[in-house]
């Protein structure tokens, strides 16, 4: 299983790009896509999912150009869009059966599979109620369930943890880890903690371009020896931000404890172990 994205661009107007000259090759495992809002993550994922077509470049799965043969990708795809809806008058069983029919799957095992998915996602008790009565988090689970209906070989999750509580996020990450054993999982988020514990590879995007791509250690190495912590007065924060990339602040008595990235640390700063979040902020601010 090999997904190749070669020089892909999505142009909306003459000089307005949602994605520009993007290239990456993905094989089995989890790719985490990180980037601020508007970075082009959803644009890229929609093109991989055959919702949109690239303006330029080629996306191919096992050497098949998916712009020309969308059904080749669709047969093997599980896609959870960022902003999706449901038919409120259908219950969870009916909606998933409908999705299964659209994906072209059926057979005697379909109902047991739906049942087990609903059980695993803890929707079984409410599975016979109209989806219109579900909370946001429950609708998100329905979205996850539909993405897993067809034993997908490529799974795309666009901001999947929206609406899930912290405990559910942890369980969801475990679920994704299991999925990645024999397929490609592409996971986008602007929340670093959703990515850093599970992604084999990380791609950082900004303004429609790929800033960097590699395993987490490689990406973190960009800020190796550059992350520090120090205590400053509250009123100094504004000036401090002008000269340094501030990762986080926390109150400590009358002062602020500031974690920041710099090549020239101020006096009394203590060097910290760099994380993916530090690297992400550094790369998106500096590029």
């Amino acid at each position: 299983m090999k997904l190749e994205i070669q020089n892909v661009s999505k142009r909306y107007q003459r000089n307005r790009y949602g994605l520009k000259d993007f290239s990456i090759t993905i094989e089995k495992g989890i790719l985490g896509l990180l980037g601020p809002n508007g970075a082009g993550k959803s644009t890229l994922l929609k093109m991989i999912a055959t919702v949109n077509k690239p303006s330029d470049g080629i996306i191919s799965l096992n050497k098949n150009n998916i712009a020309k043969d969308a059904n080749y990708m669709r047969k093997q795809l599980g896609f959870l869009p960022q902003d999706f809806g449901v038919y409120p008058n259908l219950n969870a069983y009916e909606f998933l059966e409908y999705m299964a029919a659209m994906k072209g799957i059926g057979g005697p095992n379909l109902k047991p599979r739906i049942h087990q998915l609903l059980e695993g996602l803890n929707l079984i008790d409410t599975a016979k109620k109209p989806i219109g009565t579900y909370s946001g988090g429950m609708k998100q689970r329905i979205g996850i369930a539909q993405a897993l209906l067809n034993s997908p070989k490529i799974i795309i999750f666009d901001e999947p943890t929206v609406g899930l509580d912290p405990e559910e996020r942890v369980r969801f990450r475990n679920l994704i880890s299991d999925l990645a054993n024999d397929c490609i999982v592409i996971l986008s988020s602007h929340i670093v903690s959703d990515i850093d514990t599970i992604a084999d590879q990380v791609a950082v995007m900004k303004n429609g371009t790929l800033i960097t791509h590699g395993n987490q250690e490689n990406i973190i190495s960009n800020v190796h020896d550059k992350v520090y912590e120090t205590s400053i007065k509250k009123e100094e924060l504004g000036t401090f931000k002008l000269n340094h990339i501030v990762v986080s602040t926390s109150r400590k008595n009358e002062n602020l404890l500031v974690r920041y990235i710099t090549t020239a640390p101020i006096a009394n700063s203590i060097r910290q172990v760099a994380t993916l979040e530090d690297a992400y902020l550094y790369l998106t601010k500096n590029n």
Binding site: A49, T50, V51, K53, A70, N71, R74, L77, F79, F84, G85, Y87, P88, N89, L90, E94, E97, Y98, M99, A100, A101, M102, K103, G104, I105, G106, G107, N109, L110, P112, R113, Q116, L117, E119, G120, L121, N122, D125, T126, K129, G132, T133, Y134, S135, G137, M138, R141, L148, S151, L164, D165, E167, E168, R171, F172, N174, L175, D178, L179, D182
Partner: protein, 514 residues
């Protein structure tokens, strides 16, 4: 005052800055073009016995104003009757509810915004009426006042009242859109039937056109020296091959009581808004409806473990039947359950009434009642934000679009079953075919307009106009063989259905490729 006018302005801009409104304006222009027939046309709009007015300024001004008042009162309601619902759909209701705007100000702003939308259409028609004068006039001078006076005194107040009624219905009947549509249809019919007996009663005429029509009738009576009631026809009468005589109509000197009454109607409209203000939900009801259920289910939220590798393996199945079943289920469950009582009553009427009445009257109305079910068959996935799933499904056109269209046709045919059985038992198979083609025609039209304009409003208005024409026995718009079902008619209808179907498929394919 400024925030209030700003709200109106922005609401108006939000509603008019759309592709569908542009289409509406273009359609208005096209319809307005037909309000005063070209001198050799074989149809009439306003005709008193065998007489029509000479083509002077007054005739153009008054005829177009009356036609606009009558038609836009009817159709306009369906264009503007979801202004509050739009705020709910756009999820700005709760934001509005948390602002300082009073309920009255909000509702009045909706009325005025509705009114401005209708006024924009009136303005378009007004421009067209002047253009028509210069195209067709019989060498008479142009008097702008003969155009302005009827529009100001007849059309504008009528539009204001329609704008008020739309808001009143939305407040009183809330989300029951079908009920609003049906009630307005009956209200309009009732008002249209109102026949003033004396000068004072003209003030009670909401549409304001009776006084003008009566004056036209009187002038024809004077010419013909007859005391008999002259036969007035208003609306499109096709096939008027007999050339009409002409009389000179120079406008109406409206009585003071009539002029005052038009302004009083506007004040009454505002008064009604004041009266219904306490009934306005201020976006509370929708919130309540959902929270009860979600509060129950949220207690049980926890993802367990899903091991994809041990889930039962499914087979490939590219059949259409499962899709068809769910699409039918979606249609069946759409709307309130009690609406099915009306459907059942309709089906009973199709079983017991004389076949002619059942076919010509009950069937088109019964099908029209399904307008909310079929109007969004090709836009439903976008409205419900499910299009990412449907458009990435396996062969979305060959399987999904077919199942959507088929399920809607099946629904209409199920409702028509009693009539189909009756005519089938009489071996009237051409009628059976005509009904099947009629169901296909209306569904294909909904599908095509949905694909083309990405909305359902245009189809809803069009379907309403067609049904109104069906009930009034206009042959040209008979799409279900109610009045004619010869072989040629069936071939013509079948061709039309094929064309509509092919266009929908090709357009959807183009959209997906794009």
């Amino acid at each position: 005052m400024k925030p209030f006018t700003t709200i109106i302005k922005l609401d108006y801009l939000q509603r008019t800055r759309s592709y569908s409104f542009l289409i509406t304006l273009c359609a208005s222009l096209a319809i307005a073009y037909t309000f005063v027939p070209e001198p050799n046309a074989n149809y009439s709009t306003i005709r008193i016995a065998d007489y029509v007015g000479v083509y002077n300024s007054a005739w153009f001004g008054y005829v177009t104003a009356i036609m606009t008042s009558a038609f836009l009162s009817l159709i306009g309601f369906y264009l503007i009757n979801s202004s509050i619902k739009t705020d709910i759909d756009n999820r700005v209701g709760h934001i509005i509810a948390a602002t300082r705007i009073s309920n009255f100000s909000y509702l009045l702003s909706k009325v005025i915004s509705n009114f401005l939308v209708l006024l924009t259409i009136v303005g378009t028609v007004f421009g067209m009426s002047i253009l028509l004068f210069f195209l067709y006039n019989d060498g008479f001078s142009f008097y702008l006042i003969q155009f302005i006076k009827p529009y100001v005194l007849i059309t504008c107040p009528a539009m204001f009242i329609v704008a008020v009624i739309a808001v009143v219905f939305e407040v009183v009947f809330e989300k029951y859109t079908i009920l609003q549509n049906i009630l307005f249809f009956f209200l309009f019919s009732l008002l249209a039937l109102f026949s003033p007996k004396n000068e004072n009663q003209y003030a009670l005429d909401l549409f304001g056109n009776k006084t003008v029509l009566h004056q036209m009738e009187n002038e024809v009576r004077t010419i013909t020296n007859s005391d008999q009631t002259t036969k007035l026809s208003i609306g499109y009468v096709l096939g008027n091959v007999k050339k009409a005589n002409t009389f000179e109509f120079n406008g109406v000197d409206f009585s003071t009581s009539f002029i005052i009454s038009r302004f009083v109607w506007i004040l009454i409209g505002i008064g009604i808004i004041v009266g219904i203000t306490p009934l306005f939900h201020r976006f509370k009801r929708k919130e309540n409806n959902n929270t009860k259920e979600t509060a129950v289910v949220q207690k049980r939220l926890r993802i367990k473990e899903v091991l994809l590798s041990v889930l039962p393996k499914t087979n490939e199945n590219y059949g259409v039947l499962p899709l068809l079943r769910t699409e039918f289920l979606l249609l069946f469950r759409k709307g309130k359950k009690w609406l099915w009582i009306i459907n059942i009553i309709g089906m009973v009427l199709l079983s017991i009434l004389p076949i002619k009445v059942a076919h010509q009257m009950v069937l088109p109305i019964l099908w029209f009642i399904q307008v909310h079910r079929i109007s969004d068959i090709t836009t439903r996935e976008i409205t419900n934000n499910v299009h990412y799933f449907t458009f990435t499904s396996y062969k979305p056109i060959a399987r999904l679009l077919v199942s959507k269209i088929s399920s809607a046709i099946i629904l209409l045919l199920c409702l028509a079953t009693p009539l189909l059985l009756r005519v089938g038992l009489l071996s009237n198979f051409s009628l059976v075919i005509a009904i099947v083609l009629g169901a296909s025609f209306i569904v294909m039209t909904a599908a095509l307009l949905g694909v083309l304009f990405k909305g359902k409003k245009l189809f809803e208005v069009l379907f309403f106009m067609i049904t109104y024409a069906n009930i009034n026995g206009i042959l040209f718009l008979d799409y279900f063989g109610g009045f004619e079902h010869t072989n040629f008619y069936i071939i013509r209808l079948a061709t039309l259905v094929m064309l509509l179907g092919c266009s929908s498929f090709l357009l959807r394919r183009y959209q997906l490729k794009k």
